[in-house]
Amino acid sequence: MTQLEYLLQQLINAVSMGSLYALMAIGLAMVFGILRLINFAHGDLIMVGSYGVLLLNAAGLPFIAAAAAGAALSGVAGLLMERLAYRPIRGAGDVAMLLNSFAVTILLENLGIVIFTAKSRPFPSPEAFNAVVELGAVRVSSLSLISIATTVILLVLLTIFVTKTEIGISLRATAQDLVAARLMGIDVNKVIAAAFLIGSCLAGVVGVLWSARIGKVDPLMGFQPVLKAFVASVVGGLGSIPGAVLGGYILGIIEVLLQGLLPSSLAPFRDAFVFALLIVLLLFRPNGIMGGRDKEKI
């Protein structure tokens, strides 16, 4: 294999990883954009969706149908989360909302442990996910290509949604100026529900692809992805949807680069390097890459 082919192979890995981060980060961004809430419970929607797929598939549903149903289940869980945990305390301030998101996380994860035990279960990914695709000398897993293709399709659909539909434009408007949105008569409750529904469905899709990648499902599986998605959305600029996507891909590429460049003795500390880079970035661009000229800084 030539160096160029090796690079290409690693790039595909990076982009497929970045795709998952991007899909996760979009959900965080849509909610943060409107509510100024970093919904840490977003990661647990991955778990909800993955168990959904697991159970429905075990019950006899074909994998693809189970996957779609699992994503929908995550969406419903996200809607319920908004309705039951966040809407009642919406006026109570950002800190109360953030604390509530931790509460929801702990609740969901422990609920998962009670129902499914803490032991992980193998994820029933179909054969087609595990094949190795050879493009010349470049060898990549079919799952990587499926992840990339799925993400591209979802990003196109999402773009159409936020630029062409009334509720999608309303979502962007509300994220920019809540009071002005209310003065236009925009139904803010509907917009927030839409943001949760769409973000959560995307998390459900990530659940399928992530579980297939790690090969198992467990009640605490959402923690790492949500943390990574959080980093991605901070890198891109919290609250910005294009920023979330960009941040996701940058994170994916940095991770794969570190994996390739770090000596094996340091490889276990890859995440530490990722977070160190995040700190450096924030020193220079506190609002993230696409955070704009927003004056409000921490």
């Binding site: 309303s170 962007r172 920019q176 209310r182 008569g185």
Partner: protein, 244 residues
């Protein structure tokens, strides 16, 4: 007709409106005047349902608005172009205008109304695809008014439409306001530029620290020394900021 009676609004310990009463008949142009912090913007925000009055009544054709959701108030045709324009900077001009019409039931006449807004502000048609935030201050104000017009207002509330604009643009904005008034749009205008506002108004209401200090027709107020006193005494007391 819009009728405010004994309206009280508080922000925490700040008693912003202390029993404000005023009336706005159909087709009238009434200016709400007064120095910074007098409660002009608060009055508009209370009418729009963004701030909740602690007591008092806001009635439109006999329907009580206080306590209603802003959405329902927009549906009744009471539309505000807020202070500082508050256009959606990241949305295109066309998208901003579309947001103005979000609550309309008759989406079919949107196109012809859009044509009307473009006739009123030709620059907006040229800038349709541009992000709202890239417009000049005057263009942004035109967008804010155009956006409000697309909601098909029965009452149009304009908060400080001339603030921060060049004199020539101010003149243009006031011409548009007069034009809308002559077409029968009911307008409640908040202005710091008292002279210009009095000139276009049927009646004026002067607020001072949350109460109505003075009200009357254009003729009654034009030479009234009391108007100047209210502005000047306030200015000597030091600058303060509007509560909203």
């Amino acid at each position: 007709m819009l009728r405010l009676e004994g309206l009280n609004v508080s922000y925490g310990h700040v008693h912003a409106l202390k029993g404000v009463s005023l009336e706005l008949s159909d087709g009238e142009l009434v200016s709400l005047l007064g120095p910074n912090g007098a409660g002009k913007s608060t009055t508009l925000m209370a009418i729009s349902g963004i701030v909740r009055p602690s007591s008092g009544s806001i009635a439109y054709d006999g329907v009580e608005l206080a306590g209603m959701d802003p959405r329902e108030i927009v549906e009744m045709g009471i539309i505000q172009a807020p202070e500082g324009r508050r256009i959606f900077g990241g949305l295109s001009v066309a998208e901003n205008l579309r947001m103005g019409a979000v609550r309309r039931k008759d989406k079919r006449s949107f196109k012809s109304d859009l044509e009307e807004v473009f006739a009123l502000f030709p620059i907006l048609e040229k800038r349709q695809r541009q992000a709202g935030g890239t417009l000049s201050g005057g263009e942004q104000q035109m967008l804010a008014i155009g956006r409000a017009l697309l909601a098909k207002p029965r009452i149009l509330m304009l908060d400080e439409p001339s603030l921060g604009l060049a004199p020539l643009v101010v003149k243009e904005i006031f011409e548009v306001i007069e034009g809308l008034h002559s077409r029968g749009v009911t307008i409640l205008l908040v202005e710091q530029n008292a002279k210009a506002a009095i000139a276009v108004s049927d009646r004026c209401v002067l607020l001072e620290t949350g109460t109505v200090a003075l009200s009357g027709t254009k003729a009654e107020l034009a030479g009234n020394p009391e108007v100047e006193r209210i502005y000047l005494s306030r200015a000597e007391g030091g600058a303060s900021h509007d509560a909203t």
